[in-house]
Symmetry: C2
Subunit: 394 residues, 2 copies
């Protein structure tokens, strides 16, 4: 088996937040940003487009969004065009699809773009839409949308391991602090001390406002190319070195454990073994902190610390600059917001910029060589992981 | 470049029609049918699942459908799991994604499944949902949903080439006749003579009821595997030999021509040249007859006949059994119905069964070796093509 090596050669995001922009306008904006960020890229170079979008049908009343994004970005894909959907992991799915297409020889130069418009006139309708990410007929009637579900996860983790609300706040403080270095983040120029975070209103106990990622409008895009084209676009590409996914269950009645994320263990093992590295070789990780408790469990399930130690890992700053690896340096979902389909793409943009030393010093991982990107989706029933590193493998 | 060869080793569909079944129940049913159709397949063999679904968010108020389908089918994907959406071509997108993943070495045994539940308590709501396949804010206010758009295409084709309503009826008669050999088709055991078709009520002039595909509930699934696993599952695999897609525009104001489907020409040329054959080498074709006029223009854009000759091609039976190739032998979208995400998968099931000589004689292509599958999506702005044939290539 000799698939082609695949390089991520650049990317860009729009400003994220509550934006007076339509879905199409976000697509236009990220297209323009992408061409600025990758100056050698010409529209005609791009043979394929993969669009990560979770729920444009409900948030924007628009389906068939792949050709819409192509048109708005000024692209005419002549090899592959499709949208990928995997709820909160839709963006990473777009990247994985681009990677597979290039590795297989079906595409040479592909764009993966993620776009989500979540702030709409009726936020009640938007919140209802979010509910259909879970198993709606079976889990919906029990109120299992994201905040109550992850609150239940946090309660269970506290019961099993003595995790504290202060430890949750430590995650939020770090990610909001990083977001203050990122002008594209929704919560740029907003300060959240641990004390302030502890006083914010409850959303679903024990989760307070600062423990929850937000409803966000935003887009992000990256360019992936076959090895032979990498030099044309970048001197410092990030190479795709591993991928892993695992789907464990859907209906909550079939979940084995709330706090032991088996799917993440499987997905990370697969991606890391493909890259032939250990989790301790990572210099940075972009993990799915949809809620603070998620990042804590992710430390554990990734094997960065023992089960139950995630809270202390956070409080001790082991995932902070100066720690063992830098986790969520762009600001995470907590600090940047979480436009579902765009998140996975923006995480990859951060990896590229970290490798290229293009980020502010306050969040730069020292001499980064290996990075992991993780997304969960739904009720943490599906986990998706990619590993980026130096050229090699294939 | 030496990607791996990929074989389609079997597939199955549920009964299509107005089904008293939920989205999840259709997934269960097609899962069971698939395991019956491919007896050597064990659930643990399946490392990846690709789900083609166009609008479950609106038709079934359910997003994140990939893990839902996995659970209902009894699968635990541990390599790749995702949903692909490309409106009416969502199913073919799932197959293409599976093909790319296997060719790249990221998957060994993948299932591509298409599921759509379109008949819901409020059919007004279902029809409105269909409208968001087009560019809703720009084309929607002009009433550009599918039937009026394709009616406009038909009117233009009649004006330019003298195509007649009788020629449209010839397409419908053929496909409904084929559907009478297919117990899974929505219009199985319904007889439509050309005379009867001419007397059916108008939907959008000149398109009558029999010129339009229907709102259908249904599912279909196929198994794709890497070369080394093909023999385990089938003695008569259909090999993926070519793929092509083209996205031309989205907003109707940017369409170059209503009757010259440039995107199909590009996509078919790409797929056929990858397979190193000409369109005249095809023994059968499954093309996207969402409306009768579509199949007529597809004859032309595929190069089976000259521009403007498509109506005569149909009336002369050149796409019928005994003609140059057999077109839409399973009954097409007109005869089988069109559960958006399932259509592209069911077309591939037909190719497999044609190659394996498993279909009734009344629709069997003689000694088939090469087959083409085509889907259009939206306002025929995106065209997707795959070519299946004997082992070779890669």
């Amino acid at each position: 088996m000799s698939a082609r090596r695949v390089a991520l050669v650049g990317g860009a995001t729009t400003k994220w937040g509550v934006r007076p922009a339509t879905w199409s306008e976000l697509a236009q904006e990220v297209g323009a940003a992408l061409f600025r960020a990758v100056p050698a890229l010409r529209a005609d170079d791009v043979d394929s487009l993969f669009v990560g979008a979770a729920e444009p049908e409900r948030f924007a009343f628009q389906s068939h969004v792949a050709p819409l994004a192509a048109e708005q970005m000024g692209l005419k894909p002549h090899r592959i065009l499709q949208r990928t959907e995997l709820a909160c992991a839709s963006g990473q799915s777009a990247i994985r699809s681009a990677y597979a297409a290039i590795a297989a020889g079906l595409s040479d130069v592909a764009v993966a773009v993620g776009i989500e418009k979540m702030n709409i006139p009726s936020m009640a309708e938007a919140n209802t839409a979010m509910g259909c990410v879970m198993d709606r007929p079976w889990d919906g009637p029990h109120g299992a949308t994201a905040p109550p579900f992850f609150a239940m996860v946090a309660q269970r983790h506290m019961l099993e391991y003595g995790t504290t609300e202060e430890q949750l706040a430590a995650v939020s403080e770090k990610n909001h602090r990083f977001a203050n270095t990122n002008p594209y983040a929704q919560f740029y120029e907003k300060t959240f001390s641990r004390d302030k975070l502890m006083r914010l209103p409850l959303v679903a106990p024990p989760l307070k406002l600062g423990d929850c990622s937000s409803m966000t409008d935003g887009a992000a895009a990256v360019v992936l190319v076959a090895e032979e084209f990498a030099r044309r676009y970048s001197d410092r590409p990030a190479w795709v070195r591993g991928t892993g996914q695992y789907s464990d269950f859907h209906n909550l009645a079939n979940a084995g454990s709330l706090t032991d994320w088996v799917g993440l263990k499987h997905a990370a093992r697969e991606a890391l073994s493909m890259a032939k590295i250990s989790v301790h070789d990572l210099d940075l990780a972009e993990v799915h902190d949809c809620f603070t408790i998620s990042e804590i469990i992710e430390y554990e399930s990734l094997g960065l610390c023992a089960p139950g130690e995630g809270g202390r890992f956070a409080a001790d700053g082991r995932g902070d600059v100066g720690g063992e690896l830098v986790v969520n340096p762009r600001g995470g979902l907590l600090g940047c917001g979480h436009p579902l389909g765009a998140t996975g793409i923006a995480q990859a943009v951060e990896v590229y910029q970290q490798f290229a030393r293009e980020v502010p010093a306050a969040r730069q991982a020292p001499d980064p060589e290996w990075a992991l990107v993780h997304n969960l989706s739904g009720s943490a029933n599906v986990h998706s992981v990619m590993v980026y590193g130096p050229k090699g493998g294939a």
